[in-house]
Symmetry: D2
Amino acid sequence: MLKTPTIVLNVKTYDEAIWQKALEIARLMDKISKETYLSLAIAVQATDISLCAKNVSIPVFAEHIDPIKPGSHTGWTLPEAVKEAGAIGTLINHSEHRLKLADIDICITRAKELKLDHIVCSNNIATSKAIAAFSPNFIAVEPPELIGGDISVTTADPEIVSGSVDAVKIIDKKVKVLCGAGVKNGKDVAKAVELGSDGVLLASGIVKAKDKEKVIRDLASGL
Amino acid sequence: MLKTPTIVLNVKTYDEAIWQKALEIARLMDKISKETYLSLAIAVQATDISLCAKNVSIPVFAEHIDPIKPGSHTGWTLPEAVKEAGAIGTLINHSEHRLKLADIDICITRAKELKLDHIVCSNNIATSKAIAAFSPNFIAVEPPELIGGDISVTTADPEIVSGSVDAVKIIDKKVKVLCGAGVKNGKDVAKAVELGSDGVLLASGIVKAKDKEKVIRDLASGL
Amino acid sequence: MLKTPTIVLNVKTYDEAIWQKALEIARLMDKISKETYLSLAIAVQATDISLCAKNVSIPVFAEHIDPIKPGSHTGWTLPEAVKEAGAIGTLINHSEHRLKLADIDICITRAKELKLDHIVCSNNIATSKAIAAFSPNFIAVEPPELIGGDISVTTADPEIVSGSVDAVKIIDKKVKVLCGAGVKNGKDVAKAVELGSDGVLLASGIVKAKDKEKVIRDLASGL
Amino acid sequence: MLKTPTIVLNVKTYDEAIWQKALEIARLMDKISKETYLSLAIAVQATDISLCAKNVSIPVFAEHIDPIKPGSHTGWTLPEAVKEAGAIGTLINHSEHRLKLADIDICITRAKELKLDHIVCSNNIATSKAIAAFSPNFIAVEPPELIGGDISVTTADPEIVSGSVDAVKIIDKKVKVLCGAGVKNGKDVAKAVELGSDGVLLASGIVKAKDKEKVIRDLASGL
């Protein structure tokens, strides 16, 4: 399983992270991970999983899986397919890709069956606690109103991080908790860990940065 | 643009068509296409586009695109991403992945912007006619109740094929019409062409066949 | 069928138009319709249809129907149910309640079966044309970016109105076309009719007005 | 709050329970409730809430609310609107109307704000436990595969009932648990209570019965 503390980058469908550009970012993270022995991971579009997985050693995640088994599901994202393409895990229920409760249950079950690491996203303490009932590997709490913004969740709403950690651990101690939204630098990462989380999930902080290497190194310094 | 008449295989998320197994089917079609000079194409899962596109000469399609531009759309299928991975076209609005009307409009517009061929699926004559208003490359009419079944649409409901062709051509003569559902052999394909269509879209007929090569050759004989 | 030219008010789920407050607005429109012999109609929440329909003579519409028949569809809006409650028609595919293409087809078919008037909303010329393929009673074109705004579609984008009228009439002359978004006064209504439409669909222009009676009278003066 | 043990009837959108027919069923339940002093409640379509609430004394529920506040939400079900129409509570996340996790959170919060009783449906022990994290009034566990069937959940899968009760109570003792699916007679109801639940949620067992009064009396005998 993904080692913690960790920094997981979700490249979304940003223009700066399609295909070769996704690979370049993955390579940067791979290089820094090797140098620092820190746990860095990247979630990329389904189309780009195999390219990244083949060329880097850091864990490559899918950004999403659908609650399906092999069969007649044209155009949906099959858990088996992301695994075959090289993903070792997946995000589930990202703020931009919310799932029905019963489908979160199915996605987590499917991820466990296939031994895919899974980071299930929540939007507040109550939903973090609810998701903990499914005993996933990871829960990543991200207040939607802070996503893509300039203020880190660790500054804007530290209670949501510590509160989620507490709520989740009461339900199931083994579930690890990440946090995200607005995370930009090593100080934010350090604060996230200090608040009891096992790391951060972030996106624009790296993808939209001019000097990505510098930003990744700074973020990593906070672990 | 995809040459017609054509046979387009949609491998869906069938167990028999994930990753290397998708490539094997693509290679079979590639071989037969080269031998016969017939237009054969394959639509595969997003994860498998690059693998197939790199290794075969026949057109590789995505099974779906979402109505989005580059940005914050975690886990959705970006038109740019399927193109970068090697797809030359995409299915849109498949019966198993229906879209809202306004989103079909956006997907077709995005496909045109990116010069992606696009086969927009409909379920009856009225929806074929409605889709024709957007002047897509292709419309593929498939009665949902016949999909995956044993009786070809060309036998069970030939009027839906000829009726769709007529309705579409009244709106826009340049739009080509495919048909699908239950298509199994060369006779079905020949009948599809005889009914005025430009070819077929099919799935289980090939993917679930024991001797796939034999089935593809038989289907191709009907063009 | 709803007489034209017409003004159709959609009260949405505004705070100013729940239950008795919806009825008060309906009564105002009823009074003005009786005085002026003009065609005014109101679309209200499902919960409020019977209250309004029992107490006013103007046509009461549902704001939405779902693409279903009687059966196991807990919490969805059954066409039969809105009719039994007193609605004589319904909106379909409103900008805030978009439907899949195949479901628009089913909703229109169901409305016709039950002899419910139906106003199917579109967002541009292309979707207006697509919807015309189903030969509905009415199409109401509303550019989403102008809905709830201060500038009337008839001023901001008159071509979308005249263009939709033209596109729809080419497909089916019997389909009537309304327009909406930002409509605020009699001049906007007069312009809508001048552009070839059969009236307007509006919401906040009346519901959010301090002196609703004055606004309705002004709007009606434009017919 | 709804007294327990209770029998809650969800009439769905069945042909046998539209408008006057919904009222007739509500009146039967009302009569039997008055005679027996037992807690019986009915959930009806949005269109039919006011008719039923005005004419019976038993609690009338909505079948669904959407996760919205008053505003621009054409055709969606506003919690305020079902309350104004006379509902004292609502179902949330019924198996036929599943919601996203974040939206279940919002619906429960909105129901609490408006003091609407709320029965949140789950499909297994894990989802029951997850929903308990939101401390709703009621959770109703219903295995989807048994809904509308001939075998009661209390016979086919008693562990899902007792297991849900246990899982929910560990999270929050105040949350009451109902069960449903295939419940047909007083014996099923008695077994439900015996398994630790606070009553049943049922639909076709009453709505589709020829002699509804007899069935309701039999069911009530199990409380």
